[in-house]
Every structure is written in structure tokens, then in C-alpha cells.
């Protein structure tokens, strides 16, 4: 029974190879709103199973979680499809929740940490259809020179990637710090490597969109001012909430 429970948690807090369920499921969901919802709910399901069954978790699972996070982070370096990239970074991030789970952190704290990661990925999820509508695909390396031709969309994309890669002030950053503060030295080192890989993968992804010379004959319309403001508002809300929650110690961080 424990094994079955572990397998169930391993699907929702992705552990390799069970994590393929998450990545496959995420990629094939067609609507952005549904993806956003799934990103929010998926780790919470895993946490619910874990806390409702009170299953005893062995220490090695934390290492497995870290390895899963590192594996996906490493694989992200060669990804060009933005949707897959989001699926992988979320798998990598959710896998890190195992560290808190094994360390028996409080349920509220872990749920907030899960929500912190999820919230940061929602921005990226929202950007995917924006890219697809204008460029045909959210695929890095096909449309260089976006920074000059579509500056607003390029800005939004950069912010979304920064949010996803746990850049300071975004919820994922505080969450990562919270998980890091409760980890052993060696695990912390591993997590920092994962963080480094996320940033590297983020830069590589942006390289395929922003710089270079626009090669298509037509330039699609940029984001409207209204959409840009809406995105900005979402961003401020996210950063504000993260800062407030973090200062209250609810994410366990600073």
C-alpha cells in the first residue's frame, strides 16, 4: 500500500520516471487557462495525498527528488519548445518539494511553497498562446529579433522566464530559499546547481527569441497596451503577495 501511495505522490510531485505523466499531460492540454489551473492544482494533489495518508517517507526520496529536479533542469538546456520547457521546469521545481516533505515541514508551509512555484509558472503559461498566436509556435530559435520587432511581447516573455527561474522578488525565489533553508548542506548544494541550470536554460531559451535579425517578411502586431498593463498588474500582484507572505514567514523564508 505504501508503495502505491508513494507512486501516487510521485506522479503529482513528479519523481522520475513517474514525472513523464506530468510532462506528457501538461504538453497535451490545449488551453492556457486549463494549463494554469493544472499547474496550480497538480502539486497540491500530491501534497494532499501525502498528508492525508500520513505515509512515512524514507530519506532517499529527498535525494531522488533532487536528482529528478537536476535531470529536468539539465534537459531544459536543449529544449526549444516553450510549452515543454514549462512542463520541465515545473517538474523540476515540484520535485524539490520532496525535500520539505521528507523533512516533515508543516502542511501549510508546504502548500504555500507549492503554490509559490505554481504561481510563478502561470505567467509563462499565459505567454505561450501569445507567442503561438503571433509566431505560429512558441518555439525558440525560429523567430529571432523579437526584441526589436515585438518589444512588448519580448518584455513580457523575459519577465515570465525570470519569474519561472526563481529570480528575486518572484514567489518561486522565496519558495526556493525556504526549501533551501531547511535542507542539509549537500542537498542545498544540489539545489543551487539546479537553480543555476534553470537560469542557464532560461537564458538559452530567450536567446532563441530576443536577439538577432528578424527574418520573416511580415511582423505580427505586438501586445496591446491593455494586455501589457494587465500582465504588469498580474506581475505586481504576484511580487507583492510573495513579499508579504515571505515577510510573514508563511513560506518559511525570510
Amino acid at each position: 500500500m505504501t508503495i502505491l501511495i508513494l507512486l501516487a505522490i510521485g506522479i503529482f510531485l513528479p519523481l522520475f520516471p513517474l514525472s513523464v505523466v506530468w510532462t506528457a499531460f501538461f504538453k497535451y492540454v490545449p488551453w492556457a487557462w486549463l494549463r494554469a489551473l493544472i499547474v496550480l492544482v497538480w502539486p497540491q494533489i500530491g501534497l494532499t495525498i501525502a498528508f492525508s495518508t500520513h505515509v512515512q517517507l524514507p530519506q532517499w526520496v529527498a535525494w531522488w527528488g533532487l536528482m529528478t529536479a537536476a535531470l529536468y533542469a539539465l534537459r531544459m538546456l536543449s529544449l526549444r519548445d516553450f510549452s515543454t520547457w514549462i512542463a520541465f521546469i515545473s517538474a523540476s521545481a515540484f520535485a524539490l518539494l520532496w525535500i520539505g516533505l521528507v523533512n516533515a515541514n508543516s502542511e501549510v508551509l508546504l502548500r504555500l511553497q507549492g503554490a509559490g512555484f505554481s504561481a510563478s509558472f502561470i505567467l509563462a503559461v499565459v505567454v505561450v498562446p501569445m507567442l503561438k498566436n503571433r509566431l505560429g509556435a512558441a518555439y525558440s530559435g525560429l523567430h529571432c529579433g523579437m526584441a526589436q520587432r515585438l518589444p512588448k511581447l519580448a518584455g513580457v516573455l523575459v519577465l515570465a522566464v525570470l519569474a519561472a527561474t526563481a529570480t528575486p522578488l518572484f514567489p518561486s525565489f522565496f519558495t526556493l530559499i525556504a526549501v533551501l533553508s531547511g535542507a542539509s548542506f549537500m542537498v542545498a548544494v544540489g539545489m543551487l546547481i539546479v537553480w543555476l541550470l534553470w537560469s542557464w536554460a532560461g537564458v538559452r531559451l530567450l536567446q532563441g527569441f530576443l536577439p538577432g535579425v528578424w527574418s520573416r517578411a511580415q511582423t505580427p502586431p505586438d501586445l496591446s497596451l491593455r494586455t501589457s498593463w494587465l500582465f504588469g498588474l498580474g506581475l505586481v500582484t504576484l511580487v507583492g503577495a510573495a513579499t508579504v507572505l515571505s515577510s510573514m514567514g508563511l513560506t518559511g523564508g525570510w
Partner: protein
């Protein structure tokens, strides 16, 4: 592997041929404007542009949108455009229901983007379906043979093997190869920028690189096994042969293959090509390199990198590549689509997955899906564009009613038209420019003068002189002339304090005579600041010192930085005061007699010996007697042992004295052999009186200045001043080989003021009155200031007029600055600055180290006028014309005209073409954004820290606010002379004849006797228009 001599020679010959299309790249210290397609000038302009596109991937014309903007601004002649369209339509089959002239004209003027794009998958039938609102027909099998042929053309034949691998397998061999090669070039060609230099450079590029690469641990660590390749041959030809044999490229394709390899880094290749041909170039003499070396390094590295990337599926040679395409055509196509960036975005993930999995059944399935989607996309896109076009042409229904055959004919016509439309735009733009020029020329004969002008000024033909000449003539009684800025005196100058000779003449000329700049103000102690600067330079270049230096005196740099940034003008002025004023100098330009040469040689050797005794033995000056120096010199020149007496005078024992004398012979080169060499070199110094009279006479006659000389004849050379600007030399005088014209002006003035020279000229019928004084001056084109040089030599009787001259020059400068600054400030600034503000702004530009555009230079050049000044005196040519004064009446044998065509016009054409191509494709033919440039090896610039040497002009020189500031036109040349006279001169100069016939120059001849204007067009001379002389209104007008 040892190659036979004939094979070596054959490879050398192939590399030579392969390198021919690549233009020379001169070191930027002496920037030479050049045509990036100079190697293709034997072809007609349109063909050369097409070939340039294939070779250099550079565009030959502006985007249609930009031409449309020019059309709206009235810079393009619509009638000429329409005429071009009609000429084109006459060569095509008609399409039922489509008025081709109207439709194509609409396409040109109202549709922003080109319509035709290569549709490989979709056929006309698919487009026809799409036009009629139907989806393209269902599955249609792909002709795999046609696909294979297409792939061979795209990937197989035209590209080097590694490039094909990159495009089929997504590797980055080409980029890595370029990076490694650039690093090697930076190491080898460094001209003193690096503190540590590459070892073994004396043995040549290939040998030095080979020795280093065999021990290169970094290459070894990354798995590049270069040693194995280098072990096959010790010569560059051997390495080339080995690589090509390994890649199994058929020998018939080698020359093309080499071309493709060389143009990858055409900046470096152009530099090496020039360097290997420049016999006088110091660095080239000491560290030899040629294109064979360069290619051998490139090929060997390329092969090593290819082997590093090798996997089981990857083709490693030409036959394997061909086999891969033939066997796995579908996979090759998908790979090509994906890695070339042409993939249908919606299917990118599927294609990538299929490629990475490598399963042929999966690839086959994805291929089928992909081709269908691509076909539909291509058809829909083209149909949409055709529909938009028909809307613009106000005939939306006709397309749907066309048969497939008619649509096919229409598409073929559009494709052919869009391939040639660049020339239509260009010709229409040139037509307008010619109309503007001829509208403003004044063909009225000049009224006879009752008194001579206050001053006459000879300016360079440079376009920047046009403004200042116009202002000067407007200010007062000044007469100006245009002459190539070296004033017809090709010289090599050995500047005071410089160790090498600089050529001051057009790049096409090699000077025979040398002029020496001599100190005329006595010895001057080095200033404290100079000593400090020198010490700082030494510290910066050592290994550890920079760490301590930054801590110790880093703050000083901070002050310097703040001063230069906050108040460049005031700070620059204060900083200049720290350095001693420039020494007074004279030019040694008279031919030396044997005795004089001997005496000079002796004087130089004596000076060297005095320095040597002071430095090596530390004797005080009072003990270094003339007799001691004489003894030392004679002992060093003969192979005798020094005497006891000499040793005693030097406070040395005999052995030490002998060692010192030996050192004089070896280190200080006081020996017979070097003396002989120096004696020969002294023979190059100066001009004989005959030569001086000939050069002066020829210069004056060529511009028609043979009588009515003013009291002052100014010889105004020009130069520029800017800070932190690697392109500073590009703003200097092109006729002086990218240097300031200061020495040529001084040389000519010195010659012209000699009574002996004037006497000889008088004998030839050219009488320059005794009260005429030639004054050298310098026009700073950045600030527009004109400075009179060698003022102390002006005769006292002329000094009384000097104040008036000064005031006139200053007023003209200020007005010129005002005119120019209006073009330099941002367009949305409102009212342009007044004369005062403009003058200050111009001076600030010259001293502001953050100013990326200190002046426009020769941007917007369009015309070259060879004729009397009256012709263009009343036309405001806005600094767009090279003005070469010429009076055909004093040139019955056409020699002067031929001379103008051979030198100035060729240089003008190079300048014009450099600006043309830098504007139409600034990234490829120009050098891109200047802000990212870094100086490479002290001879060029790169973008970022590693790139090809950037040739051409930066964006800041030709673009303003993202749009072309320079209007790219072929040089419109107007010769004022009887038609037969001009035609014969053009026919007589082969270079110009070829340039005119191939359409690199638009040649107009204005016959002053008939007022007919002849144009060379479509391979023949034709009368283009006829001007009329209106005596009531002194303006020529074009007859309808």
C-alpha cells in the same frame, strides 16, 4: 605528404583565383574607401550585385519600403520608374484581364513586401485553389527525385562539407571554426596591441600556427585532433591537398570551394590579400602571410572539427553527403527545414522529435504530414498576397477568373520582375538626381572681371569642401577651385618623430619621392605629461604591474573620464595645454646633390653616435668632441680596430672600446652596407626644380588657374578631428591615402613660392606674378575651422591683408558649421542651432569621446562634377558633390582630363560604392553598429570581442534614426567639355571606360558649345537633354 611543385603551383593558382572577388581591406590607420564588389567590376553592375549576393550574402538594393518612402519624398522619378516597368512588360507574355504595367507599378509603389517567395512545395494549381477559396487538393505524392535535386543544389554542391553538416544536423562547426580561426589571426597579425606575441611569426602564418596548434592543449582537451592532420604535411599547399582529398571534393570544384571558404571571413581574407601584396608594409615584410596560409589553416581546422562531431549517421565527405541526400531524402529535407529555420512553426516540435528519434518509418509519416501542411501554407500565403495586390490594383475579381496557365504566367512574371526591380528603383532615383543637378547648373559664361579676386583657394574635391567653398564665395571676393587633395603631388612623408614613411596620395598611386619633415625650432625637452604617459603605457603592458597601477593611480583615470564625459570641450582644451605646442618644422623637398646627400648621411650618423655615446657610456656632452665622433664613425665604417687614443678618450680599455665599436656597427647600424642603403634612400628625397615646376604647372593647368592670380592663393588640405574613433582616418582625405592633407598642402605651397620654380613656369608660359603668395591651410572637416599653416613664412607685405583673410575664413567656417549641424542634430529638435551654437557643437563633437558620429563624412555623396566652378556655383549641392575644377580650353590633348579620370574619379567611385553598399546592406557590406566595435590588432575593428574584420562603413555614417541618410546612387559624373573631347578621354582610360560601360558610374557629358547633355545608357551614348542659356536669369534650365 610531399607535394610535387606543379601541384603546389596549381593549388596556389586556384587560391589566387578564388580570392579575386574579395576586395582588399587596408589597415584602418589609413582608411581607404573601396568598392566591396571591386573584384566583380568586370561585370555589369546588376550582374555583379547578383553575384555579390550569392558570394557574400549581401543585398544589393534597399528594401522596397525605403524606395517607396523616397518616392513619396520626391527623390525618385515616377516617370522613369513607369518607363522601366513598361520596358519590362514588353519582354513578357500578356496575362488575360491583367494590365501588367498598371499591376506591376502598383506592386512597386503600393505593396510593401515582395510578393514572390520561393514556393518549393506548393504548385500553381494549389495557389489557384486557394485563390478560389478552396483548400488545396488532398494528398499528392512528392517527387522525391526533384526533392533530392533541390537538396543537392541547396546543400550539396554549393557549400563546404561542414556547412552542409551544420544545416542538416544542427551542429555549429562553422561558428566554432570562425572563432578559432579569428583567434589565430588575432594572434598572428597583431601589430603591437598585445603585450605577448605569438611565437615563430617570422616563419609565416601557416608554419607559426602549425607549431602552436600541435601543442595546443585546449584543442586537444575539446577533442579536436589537429596534430593528426598536421602530421600529413608541413606546407600549406600540402595541408590543403590533404584536406580536400580527405573530403573527396572533385578537383574541378576546388576553386569554387575555396571561394566559399574565403568569403566566410571576407574581412580577414581581404586584409591578408592586401597585406601580401603590399611590398612596403612593415608587418607584412616581417611576418609574411597569404591567402594560401589562411585557407590551409581554415581547411585543416574545419576537417578536425568535422571529425570531432562525427557520428555514425553523419556524412564526412562529399560522396557521403550526396549518398545521404539520395538515400534519406525525406530525412534530409526535414533536417534542412528544421535547422535552416524554415520549418512550419506549428510542426516544429513534431519535426524535431522525428529527427531526434531517427526512425525512418516515423520520419516518413512526419514528412508526409509536413509536406501537406507546408503546401497548404505556401499556397494560402501566396494567395493572400496576390489578393492584397489585386485590391491595390483595384481589380479583385480577375485573379479568381484566371486559368491555372495564366496564373502560372503571372507568377513567373512577378518573380522575374521582383528580381530586377532593384535596378528600376535605382535608375529612377538616379534620373531624379540627374534632373536636380542639371536644373541647377549654370551654363552662362562667367562675366569678365575688372580686378583680381582678394584670394583664391584650392580645396580638395571632397564633397565636404563644397559647403565651405560656397560659403566662402558668398562671404566675399573669393574664388575657389577643386583639385584632388594631394594637389597632384604624390609624396611619401617621413614625419618628425616617426620611424616609417606614410604615402600621401591616392591608394592607386605609389609615390616615388620622399619628403622629410625637419625640426626648425631646436631641441625640446620631453614634457612631464609625455613622460608620464609613456611610463603608464609601459606599466599597462606588463604582466603584473596593471594590478598595482590600478590601485595606485586608478583615480586619475576617473578624473580623466569625468572630464571627458561632462565637459569634453573645456577639459580637452585644458588637457592640450599640458602638452608642449607642436614644434615648428620645415619640409625638405629639394633633390639632394651627391655632396649634400653625403653630408646629410654624415650628420645623421654623427647624431646617432653622439646618442650612443651618451646612452651607452654616459659621457657628458662637453667630452663628446667632434673629433671623437669623427674617429668613432671612421672606425665603425672601416673594419679597423679602434686606436688606443680613441679608447683613452672614451675612458675604456681597448677590448671594451672594440666592443663598443662593434655595437655601433651592429646595433646602431653605422656600417658600410647600411650607409650604402641609406645613400640610395636619400636619392628618393625631394624633387628637382624641373619636377617641382612640372607638378605645380600641371596642378594649376588642370583646374584652369593660369591667369588672374590673387595676392593669396590658399592650398587648403583637409583632415578631421575626433576622439575614441577608429574610423577617424575614414574622415580624412581619401586622395591622401586616408591621411590629413596638411603635408601635401605645405609641400605644394613651398614649391609654388620658389622663385626658381616660377622662373621655369614662366618659360613654359605660365606667369605667376611676384606678389602672389601660396599659403598652405588645413580645413578641419569636423569643426569646419580653416587654419593657416607656416604663418611665419608669409612675407611682411602680405601681413596687412591677413586679418581680412582670417575674418573671411572664420565667417565661412561658422556658416558652414551652421549648415552642417542642422543635419547632425536629431530631426525632432525643432529649430536648428544658430551659427554660434553650431560652431560650439561642431567643436564639441570633435572632442567628445562618446560621440559616435562626429561628422557625416562623405555621406550623401552623389555627384562628381568635372568642369568650371561657374557651372555649380549657384547650385546648393548640400555637400553632395565632388567638384573637380577643369577647363577644357587649356587641355587640347585631353591629358589633364585623362589624369582626372584616372585618379580622382576612380577614388570618387570607390568612395561612392563603399557608401552605396554600406547603406543597402549595412550588416554585410557595412560594419554595423559602431557602438559594439572593438579595435583588433591595431589595424581593424571587430563587432564584439570576436568577429570578422568589419569592412565598410558603420551604421552611424550612413543611417539616421534607422533610415538611410546616405541616398545610395551610383556616382553621377558630369564632364563639362565638348562631347568628342570627353568621349575620347573616357575611351582613353581603360578603367573608367569599363566602369562606365558596366554601369558602375553614370556618365554625363555637358557640351559647352551645343549645351547638349549626353548620357551613357543601355550600352551607348545618347543625347539625354539640352540646356538653354538664359541671359536674363543666370540659371540653366532643362528644355522639355
Amino acid at each position: 605528404m610531399s607535394l610535387a611543385l606543379d601541384r603546389k603551383l596549381k593549388i596556389r593558382a586556384m587560391v589566387y583565383v578564388a580570392g579575386e572577388p574579395i576586395p582588399y581591406f587596408w589597415p584602418m590607420r589609413n582608411f581607404i574607401h573601396h568598392n566591396p564588389l571591386h573584384g566583380l567590376e568586370k561585370l555589369p553592375f546588376a550582374q555583379a550585385v547578383e553575384k555579390g549576393q550569392a558570394l557574400f550574402h549581401g543585398k544589393g538594393f534597399l528594401p522596397r519600403k525605403t524606395y517607396q518612402r523616397f518616392l513619396q519624398e520626391g527623390k525618385i522619378d515616377r516617370a522613369s520608374l513607369l518607363s522601366g516597368v513598361k520596358d519590362f512588360v514588353a519582354t513578357r507574355n500578356s496575362v488575360p484581364g491583367v494590365d501588367l504595367s498598371h499591376w506591376l507599378m502598383t506592386l512597386l509603389t503600393q505593396v510593401a513586401e515582395p510578393l514572390s517567395k520561393e514556393c518549393f512545395v506548393a504548385g500553381t494549381g494549389d495557389v489557384h485553389h486557394a485563390l478560389n477559396g478552396r483548400v488545396p487538393e488532398g494528398f499528392r505524392p512528392v517527387d522525391m527525385d526533384a526533392l533530392s535535386t533541390w537538396l543537392h543544389k541547396k546543400v550539396g554542391v554549393a557549400r563546404p562539407i561542414y556547412e552542409a553538416v551544420d544545416i542538416l544536423f544542427g551542429t555549429h562547426i562553422g561558428t566554432t571554426l570562425d572563432d578559432l580561426l579569428i583567434k589565430s589571426c588575432l594572434d598572428f597579425f597583431d601589430e603591437g596591441q598585445s603585450a605577448w606575441t605569438m611565437p615563430g611569426r617570422e616563419s609565416g602564418l601557416f608554419n607559426a600556427w602549425r607549431e602552436l596548434s600541435r601543442r595546443n592543449v585546449r584543442l586537444f582537451l575539446r577533442g579536436v585532433n589537429i596534430s593528426q592532420i598536421l602530421a600529413q604535411s608541413t606546407t600549406p599547399e600540402g595541408a590543403i591537398a590533404y584536406t580536400m582529398d580527405t573530403l573527396a571534393v572533385p578537383e574541378a570544384r576546388w576553386a569554387d570551394y575555396f571561394s566559399r571558404e574565403l568569403v566566410h571571413l571576407h574581412g580577414w581574407a581581404g586584409f591578408i590579400r592586401w597585406r601580401s601584396s603590399a611590398k612596403h608594409y612593415y608587418w607584412g615584410q616581417h611576418y609574411p602571410a597569404d591567402l594560401v596560409d589562411f585557407l590551409a589553416v581554415r581547411l585543416a581546422l574545419g576537417l578536425a572539427l568535422l571529425k570531432e562531431e562525427a557520428n555514425s549517421n553523419m556524412p564526412m565527405s562529399a560522396p557521403e553527403l550526396a549518398q545521404f541526400i539520395d538515400t534519406y531524402t525525406a530525412e534530409a529535407f526535414l533536417r534542412h527545414e528544421f535547422y535552416s529555420g524554415d520549418v512550419v512553426p506549428q510542426l516544429a516540435t513534431q519535426v524535431e522529435d522525428a529527427i531526434l528519434r531517427g526512425k525512418q518509418s516515423n520520419i516518413s509519416r512526419v514528412f508526409t504530414t509536413y509536406v501537406e501542411r507546408k503546401r497548404a501554407d505556401e499556397a494560402m500565403l501566396l494567395a493572400q498576397r496576390l489578393h492584397d495586390w489585386s485590391t491595390h490594383a483595384s481589380n479583385t475579381s480577375v485573379l479568381a477568373s484566371l486559368s491555372v496557365e495564366a496564373l502560372d504566367s503571372l507568377l513567373a512574371t512577378v518573380q522575374a520582375f521582383e528580381q530586377t526591380e532593384g535596378m528600376l528603383w535605382l535608375r529612377a532615383m538616379e534620373t531624379r538626381a540627374m534632373q536636380v543637378l542639371l536644373r541647377d547648373v549654370d551654363v552662362t559664361p562667367p562675366a569678365p572681371r575688372d580686378k583680381r579676386p582678394f584670394a583664391q583657394a584650392l580645396f580638395c574635391i571632397d564633397t565636404r569642401s563644397e559647403r565651405i567653398r560656397r560659403q566662402l564665395e558668398h562671404i566675399g571676393d573669393y574664388q575657389t577651385f577643386g583639385i584632388a587633395g594631394f594637389f597632384g603631388v604624390p609624396i611619401g612623408i617621413l614625419e618628425l618623430g616617426k620611424g616609417s614613411e606614410t604615402h600621401l596620395c591616392p591608394a592607386v598611386v605609389t609615390p616615388k619621392n620622399l619628403v622629410l619633415e625637419m625640426n626648425a625650432s631646436g631641441p625640446v625637452d620631453e614634457s612631464v605629461v609625455s613622460v608620464f604617459e609613456h611610463a603608464l603605457h609601459e606599466l599597462k603592458n606588463s604582466v603584473l604591474a596593471p594590478f598595482a597601477t590600478v590601485e595606485a593611480i586608478g583615480l586619475l583615470f576617473g578624473f580623466d573620464m569625468i572630464g571627458k564625459t561632462i565637459a569634453p570641450l573645456a577639459y580637452g582644451s585644458w588637457r592640450r595645454k599640458l602638452f608642449p605646442a607642436k614644434q615648428m618644422t620645415r619640409l625638405l623637398l629639394d633633390k639632394l646633390g651627391r655632396e649634400q646627400a653625403d653630408s646629410i648621411l654624415r650628420a645623421v650618423q654623427r647624431a646617432v653616435i653622439v646618442k650612443a655615446v651618451e646612452h651607452e657610456l654616459g659621457l657628458p656632452p662637453e667630452r663628446i668632441t667632434d673629433d671623437l665622433v669623427r674617429q668613432l664613425r671612421e672606425t665603425a665604417l672601416t673594419k679597423e680596430m679602434p686606436s688606443d687614443e680613441l679608447a683613452r678618450q672614451l675612458d675604456l680599455d681597448l677590448a671594451a672600446c672594440n666592443a663598443f665599436v662593434t655595437r655601433l656597427r651592429d646595433a646602431y647600424r653605422i656600417n658600410r652596407q647600411f650607409s650604402r642603403l641609406q645613400f640610395e634612400r636619400l636619392g628618393r628625397i625631394g624633387f628637382s626644380s624641373n619636377e617641382q615646376a612640372h607638378l605645380l604647372g600641371q596642378a594649376l593647368r588642370s583646374i584652369g588657374l593660369v591667369e588672374h592670380f590673387s595676392r593669396f592663393v590658399l592650398l587648403v588640405g583637409h583632415g578631421s578631428a575626433s576622439e575614441n574613433n577608429p574610423y577617424e582616418s575614414a574622415l580624412d582625405c581619401g586622395a591622401c591615402g586616408g591621411n590629413s592633407g596638411i603635408f601635401n598642402a605645405r609641400t605644394m605651397a613651398q614649391m609654388a613660392n620658389k622663385s626658381e620654380v616660377r622662373r621655369r613656369l614662366r618659360e613654359q608660359g605660365l606667369d605667376i606674378p611676384a606678389d602672389v603668395y601660396f599659403v598652405a591651410a588645413l580645413h578641419n572637416t569636423t569643426t569646419d575651422e580653416i587654419t593657416i599653416l607656416d604663418r611665419e613664412l608669409i612675407p611682411p607685405a602680405h601681413l596687412i591683408y591677413l586679418d581680412r583673410l582670417h575674418k573671411g575664413l572664420k565667417a565661412a567656417s561658422r556658416l558652414c558649421a551652421q549648415e552642417r549641424m542642422a543635419t547632425l542634430v536629431p530631426s525632432d529638435i525643432g529649430a536648428p542651432p544658430d551659427a554660434n551654437a553650431s560652431s560650439r557643437l561642431a567643436r564639441r563633437n570633435a572632442s567628445d569621446w562618446s560621440q559616435a558620429r562626429p561628422e557625416w563624412g562623405l555621406s550623401r555623396n552623389a555627384y562628381f562634377v568635372i568642369g568650371r566652378r561657374q557651372l555649380t556655383q549657384r547650385a546648393g549641392l548640400a555637400g553632395r558633390a565632388f567638384l573637380n575644377s577643369y577647363d577644357w580650353r587649356v587641355d587640347p590633348k585631353r591629358r589633364l582630363l585623362e589624369s582626372i579620370l584616372t585618379g580622382p574619379l576612380v577614388v570618387g567611385q570607390w568612395i561612392n560604392m563603399e557608401h552605396y553598399f554600406s547603406t543597402v546592406d549595412n550588416e554585410r557590406y557595412g560594419s554595423g553598429n559602431k557602438a559594439y566595435h572593438n579595435v583588433a590588432g591595431r589595424f581593424g575593428v571587430m563587432t564584439g570581442n570576436l568577429s570578422d574584420l568589419r569592412t565598410g562603413l558603420p551604421a552611424q555614417t550612413v543611417l539616421k534614426e534607422g533610415h538611410p541618410y546616405h541616398e545610395p546612387l551610383r556616382l553621377i559624373t558630369l564632364i563639362e567639355a565638348p562631347f568628342e573631347h570627353a568621349r575620347s578621354a573616357i575611351e582613353g582610360v581603360v578603367t573608367i571606360k569599363r566602369l562606365v560601360q558596366n554601369g558602375w558610374i553614370r556618365m554625363l557629358v555637358l557640351d559647352p558649345e551645343t549645351l547638349a547633355v549626353h548620357l551613357y545608357d543601355h550600352g551607348a551614348w545618347q543625347q539625354w537633354t539640352c540646356l538653354t542659356r538664359l541671359f536674363s536669369n543666370p540659371q540653366g534650365v532643362i528644355e522639355a
